[in-house]
Symmetry: C2
């Protein structure tokens, strides 16, 4: 049960079938397997041992798919780094994971000196865009010079990746996902999404997130074709669908909004596209109606989950993306448990709740993470009684459809990225003159939710919102920085126990809005 | 990752959907789950502990599906017993497995005294057909009187079943299959067979074999509907397809032959039937053409594997069941590796052979058995280097299609049952006056292959073929007994090393025949 197994199988059944498309690449499975085995050799030459961590900091590209599989082929553990993070966050990820090798693309070259300086374990940086900044060798020439190595053959419960995710403590933690975790997710994806060897999957969601990354594994298990674009832009996306005859991809609702607003949508041949899957936030019914009218013949599927679930726990299929008949109304749910998942709603004492009652969404099954990297206490808390506690509040209806009603964790979902309020609040608290602060999500047409900070100065102090924002930008990713800052003098509302009452703070923003699932 | 998980999920998503049909039963998933939890309680009352073996000796029925899941729900290990075996074979299976409880149906009541006498570990017999032979309680009244128990929650690498299979040594051995083994097979079956919650699977292949048994798990994972008939007979089969609106089932080519010969085929409504899968022997092209003409709209899929592979390793989909175009000719192969299997051809030193070269078919992946029960040496031999050595000889073509050319093991496949020559030869050798003997498979229109024995008497002795056959019938299952016996005086042809040259013995029978794969 190895994530590299799909490569061996694809070479066996159709060695000359396209494996990787995009950015000038057009590799068959035979060529791809050869390059993966060479890059694995390069990683081993750079000291990667079984279980050793290999970090990757890059936009999506065919090479990113090679980073994934070369790391696994060499027996290593992938550590994808969020390109949107600020330097201190990238440093934390590299140091916490103990990565010794970093693969970077041209866009990230500028980060390298700061990362080298702050990350003592980082012994090697491989530049993947032909640049040779710092004399560390160039990707293509390293590959050409290295003989292929044999697959290290790790699999099953062996660690495959650390995907870093925020947390209520404000400290990003490494989610340990095994080969078996991802393969469990891939097999249910094959069943539910119908991905097969003829499928062409466009990787448009960032490959440093598990939502995009898990599809790299699914496409490989199926022996299909990977197509990539570096980022979502309507024209890039539409051109790629047309050129590569893309059959399936994963989007966030904001991308569909942008597509519908794009004036030249009708100029592209999108006839190959069979299925659009989405997650991170529910599909507003109006947007779904509009999209179905503009792109008839495309089916929709929603997935719900989280990094800790590799990532899918429930799925809402095309059948339920309708507005009339007995299946209407289900589109407001997150769907039903996927085939190999137990989904249950638990009360605060971890007792299962009956149908219709709201509690914490908990998941059990082969897709549940091994734990948080070097965080045994957080792991034990999240996985108590063998169930992954998602932090989301919801209920199950009589047919097992999951309806999410709120977030137990104090988290904002902005443009598909999770923002943990505590992480932002920690940074704001460092700013001179801040007495107290609270970070909440407020409605945003563009981002779903936008980060909003409410700041109370110390007696006699004055807070300059622009200077505070500049301070945030140094410490946080762009998507984590407040879009708006409200400086006020009255104290924050608090519960008897002294906890800030965020519900009260959010109320004026959300009244009259259909609050997003997240 | 538990085989009982599908029950919990089916109750969550459609508690009132039919779970079990047949023999007067019409149970919803809610009712089925309740009965399973009660029967598990009964088994625990009868001393079944986690890992304890529960044997079952019965024709197919809805109750057989309950035996499966109640055993697992109680934390036990299923030991299905072949009803066709002779008493000594059944005794060996019960004693070898150490089963303490036996579930029997009416047809097997007659065996009970002999089994009790010869199996000291067998503490309890539960009669499942209302009969109360020996005062051991009756199935339905035991169920009614027992409160449901909680699912023991075993899964993953825990042992789920011992399926007994013959061997070259002539001694039947228990193949240890885990929850994870069966779930790996089920997930690829969902992908390749399209079994879903609307599917109705007819269990017509015996549930004491893994070919039929694995479909019990697949149907449950999918949350579909189980339908059963006690045995294959054309009318029973056709009536069941019509009555239960069966969508999918697994057959052997001999059953199709019988269906085509059945004079009233056209009287039945078979419009629900989407897919017929078959295994154990390849589909003769003439039979396939005939069947497709008589049953248009039904798709065909071939699976190849063995008990040790839970059981599927390769699969040939509907696309390749054609006689013209680029995909023609593939129907003579056993298909390509399923998604999670490594399939390779090895030489006698376990080195992988290139495309087109004949060697032993070897398989690696999450479907490979844990080993042979209490047979560490046989296990180590079969699983050397981490690959299951199937004993079949074959080659892979350039597109990874597996062509089987011969059997490495000396095995005959007769009517879908494996007959190990050595087992039959051992019994013949016990007969007074036998000097040497060889058992081979010869062509049979009805059985694919029929068992043929060549016997050489000791000098001066005379062998009475009828008496020898009677002796065989006492010791062997009906399908293992020779259909024909050839008593001859000349010595058997042997190699320089003294090995009987069975190829030479087979030659006169098979010349001019298209030898079946199995």
């Amino acid at each position: 049960m190895r994530l590299t197994q799909g490569i061996h199988r694809a070479v066996q059944i159709h060695a000359d079938h396209p494996a990787l498309l995009g950015d000038g690449f057009e590799l068959t499975w035979r060529q791809f397997a050869d390059r993966v085995a060479r890059l694995a050799g390069v990683l081993i030459d750079h000291g990667v041992e079984p279980g050793g961590r290999v970090a990757m900091l890059a936009a999506n590209s065919p090479r990113y798919v090679e980073y994934y599989f070369a790391t696994l082929w060499a027996g290593g553990v992938m550590v994808p780094v969020n390109t949107r993070w600020a330097i201190p966050e990238k440093v934390h990820c590299l140091n916490d994971s103990g990565a010794t090798v970093l693969l970077v693309d041209a866009a990230a070259h500028g980060d390298v000196p700061a990362l080298r300086e702050a990350c003592p374990a980082l012994a090697h940086v491989i530049h993947a865009d032909g640049g040779d900044a710092g004399g560390h060798g160039d990707y293509e020439s390293l590959l050409a010079a290295r003989a292929p190595v044999a697959d290290a053959g790790r699999g099953g419960d062996d660690l495959a990746a650390l995907f870093y995710t925020g947390g209520t403590t404000g400290r990003s933690k490494g989610v340990m996902l095994s080969h078996g975790n991802f393969l469990a997710n891939s097999m249910t994806a094959l069943v539910n999404l119908g991905i097969r060897q003829h499928s062409v999957h466009l990787h448009v969601s960032p490959l440093f997130h598990v939502a995009g990354g898990s599809r790299v594994f699914t496409t490989t298990v199926a022996g299909g074709t990977h197509a990539t674009i570096p980022r979502f832009e309507p024209e890039l996306f539409l051109e790629a669908v047309q050129r590569y005859r893309v059959t399936v991809t994963v989007v966030v609702p904001a991308m569909l909004n942008a597509l519908l607003d794009y004036p030249h949508l009708d100029r592209f041949d999108l006839s190959s596209l069979e299925l659009l899957t989405y997650g991170a936030s529910p599909m507003p019914e109006a947007l779904l109606r509009q999209t179905m009218a503009r792109l008839p013949g495309i089916r929709f599927l929603q997935s719900y989950g989280m990094t800790e679930l590799s990532p899918v726990a429930t799925s809402l299929g095309p059948r339920y993306h309708v507005f009339e008949g007995p299946d209407a109304g289900r589109v407001r749910s997150a769907g039903q448990a996927v085939y190999n998942a137990d989904v249950a709603i638990m009360d605060e004492h971890d007792r299962p709740l009956p149908t219709g009652q709201v509690g914490e969404v908990c998941v059990r099954g082969p897709m549940v993470m091994k734990g948080y990297w070097r965080q045994p206490e957080l792991t034990a808390e999240a996985l108590r009684n063998g169930w992954m506690h998602t932090g989301d509040a919801g209920y199950l209806d009589a047919d097992g459809f999951l309806f999410l009603v709120d977030r137990v964790k104090d988290m904002i979902v902005s443009g598909g990225e999770n923002v943990y309020s505590a992480a932002v609040e920690n940074v704001i608290h460092q700013f001179e003159g801040v007495h107290e602060c609270a970070v909440i999500g407020v409605p945003s047409e563009r981002w779903g939710e936008a980060v909003h900070a409410i700041v109370v100065p110390r007696a006699g102090a004055r807070i300059d919102a622009d200077a505070l924002l500049a301070h945030c930008r140094e410490q946080l990713a762009g998507y984590e920085c407040p879009k708006t800052i409200d400086v006020r003098t009255e104290a924050l509302p608090r519960s008897g126990a002294g906890k800030v009452l965020k519900t009260e703070l959010r109320k004026p923003f959300w009244d009259g809005e259909t609050r997003g699932i997240h």
